[in-house]
Amino acid sequence: MENAIKKYWPVFLLPTLAAFIIGFIWPFIWGIYLSFHKFITVSKTTFVGIDNYIKVFQDATFVDAFWFTARFTLVSTILINVIAFMLALALTRGLKGTNAFRTVFFLPNLIGGIVLGYIWQILLNGILTNLGLPLLALDAKYGFWGLIILMCWQQIGYMMIIYIAGLQNVPGDLLEAASIDGATSFQTLIKVKLPMVMPSITICSFLTLTNSFKLFDQNLALTSGEPAKQSQMLALNIYDTFYARSGAQWKGIGQAKAVVFFLLVIGIALIQLYFTRRKEVQQ
């Protein structure tokens, strides 16, 4: 067996590696190259140095979009994880119909973001109309909370499944020991379950954080950045820079924004991983 693996590893590894290089590494390198250029098609480019990067930071809409995205990420990460964890707790108690509930909560995750965005736009606009409030596209406040509701609805089920798996892996002897020692259920939760599901928390907060930060489809479909870009998130801002502008320089600026965006996502994700990893314990 060992020998076979030594001999045939390229057969297993190379296709994936090739796909990864073609689909990810190569475009990524090109992306960085293009961010220093002015171009319409990538075969005809003019070098412009760091001009594009200077313009990125002069663009007020990009900075606004960053803060909107940051606020959104903070609120949605906390809400999604807290609610998903509570649901997971409720659904690991052996209640009747647990499986049905798990399925129901997980279902929204199977629908694409664009579709969800339009469905929720109709729903939320219907409610706002009945309440006599401005529609989603008219007030960034409603756009923001609309996005939060949509993301929670979509993501909670998925995170819940990960938490359920984590909770089911908490060793029974630990829980038993805790109860023999007279720990209340709240103490068991804080002192035993939480530290034991820390790996799940790491992965779930990583997923929600990066998903929220990179959110595009839902933003496009639900508010499309209206009113006047006040509900525009970073990914949509980059897309708009690239496609909604005419003139060769904008493509390069959009590309530079994308590189800055990449660095932001990496930075934030690494910080988050550092902090949650530290809390993980060995079983």
Binding site: L138, P227, R245, S246
Partner: protein, 421 residues
């Protein structure tokens, strides 16, 4: 193992050679209008059968033309024929546009204005002319006691619309105008087409054809017509933000609205009401001399031949276009199947347009009315349109002031223009 890899490599090489070693001259048209895809495909086939020159037609999905064009241009087999929407679109693609001045194509245009020029170079040729205005349901107008002839200027349009709005229950309609929806499927009717009106009058007053800094002389008139639309609509102004193009069209088709701002391209759907029941009125905005104003007629579709293609492909493409606009098959397809009104002198007799809105436009022009030119190809960018659209939406809903529209229109124009020049 090595043998298999060698075999696989050999196969790849063979395929690569096969892919590059295709016919000498060919035509590749990247088509903009999805609704005419089938007709172009059929026409391409006929041409290939006749001449042996392969013609490929690929149609970009709606709203994805620029993206598709950018991607296709990268390929070694890039489009030899594509389109731009006017001067602003040309700014992106000018390096890729072959100068058609030396070819026969500009000679077929009925008016030199239909050539997209850069200096003396002809970079694009318009291939379809369209017209828009306020489509009206004459049956409902008659029911309310009016005829289209009663509407001669903004004052009379306003009087009729407000009267219909006041008597909407009695007339069985929901409003005078179908909803001026500001959803992405409909907002172009107002941030682009309606916005053309103040630009047209300003250009006319100043005797210019494009500008880097719009003054907004006629923005009060823009406000007047917008107020009329939103206050005499089938729904509350605050709801317009989410109304779609389909909503608006359906209200008109269900005879719940008397007026519907749109163009010749809508004839296919509104003809369901019967040709005798529909007409098109000019969009009056209370500008001086508007009694003589006609419908808005122009184009934002220009054919461009790819300058970076091989010379033989360029020649083949020009020959193909010439065939399309001169041969019986080409003219029949464009005039009768695609229902295009073309700016070419070859489309006469049985190839003359039959779309009633188009005939109406020709009739108005013949009566001495001045057609309103399409100036939106000179709008500085999509960004500018979006800014105006957002401000219009907020103003309609009461969450924004008209000043924001003025600012988006005037200041936004300058900012966007300076950014691209």
């Amino acid at each position: 193992m090595k043998k298999i890899i060698a075999l696989a490599l050999a196969l790849v090489v063979c395929l690569a050679i096969a892919a590059t070693a295709c016919a000498d001259a060919s035509v590749y048209y990247l088509n903009f209008k999805p609704e005419q895809d089938a007709q172009w495909q059929a026409l391409a086939k006929v041409y290939t059968e006749k001449t042996g020159v392969p013609v490929t037609v690929v149609t970009a999905a709606s709203g994805q033309y620029e993206t598709t064009l950018m991607a296709e241009m990268e390929k070694s087999e890039c489009p030899t024929l594509f389109q731009v929407n006017g001067p602003v679109g040309l700014a992106n693609w000018t390096d890729y546009c072959y100068d058609l001045a030396g070819t026969a194509l500009p000679g077929y245009l009925t008016n030199e204005a239909f050539a997209l020029k850069e200096g003396d170079a002809v970079k694009g040729i318009a291939y379809v002319i369209e017209t828009y205005g306020i489509i009206a349901n004459t049956k409902l107008l008659a029911k309310a006691g009016y005829t289209p002839a009663d509407i001669k200027d903004f004052e009379s349009l306003k009087a009729v619309a407000e009267d219909i709005q006041a008597r909407k229950a009695e007339l069985g309609v929901d409003g005078a105008f179908s909803s001026a929806g500001m959803d992405g499927s409909s907002d172009w009717r107002f941030k682009t087409h309606l916005a053309n009106m103040p630009i047209y009058y300003e250009y006319k007053a100043d005797g210019i054809g494009t500008t880097g800094a719009i003054k907004g002389t006629y923005l009060d008139n823009y406000k007047k017509i917008w107020d009329l639309y939103i206050n005499n609509s089938t729904c509350e102004p605050a709801l317009l933000a989410s109304k779609t193009g389909d909503d608006s069209r359906n209200e008109f088709l269900a005879e719940k609205a008397v007026f519907f701002q749109n163009g010749t391209w809508e004839y296919g759907s509104v003809s369901a009401l019967g040709d005798e029941n529909i007409t098109m009125l000019p969009i009056y905005i209370d500008a001086e001399g508007e009694e003589a104003q006609g419908l808005c007629t122009g184009t934002e579709n220009y054919w461009c031949v790819n300058a970076i293609a091989d010379q033989e492909d360029i020649d083949a493409t020009v020959a193909f276009l010439e065939w399309v606009i001169t041969s019986d098959e080409g003219r029949a397809s464009m005039a009768k199947e695609m229902n295009f009104v073309t700016p070419f002198s070859t489309f006469t007799g049985e190839y003359a347009p039959t779309n009633p809105f188009v005939l109406l436009d020709a009739q108005m022009t013949a009566e001495g009315k001045n057609p309103v030119s399409w100036n939106f190809p000179t709008m500085p960018s999509e960004e500018w349109k979006n800014g105006v659209g957002s401000a219009l939406t907020a103003y309609a809903a009461g969450t924004g002031e008209w000043d924001a529209v003025v600012s988006a229109f005037v200041d936004g124009w300058k900012t966007e223009y300076d950014l691209t020049h």
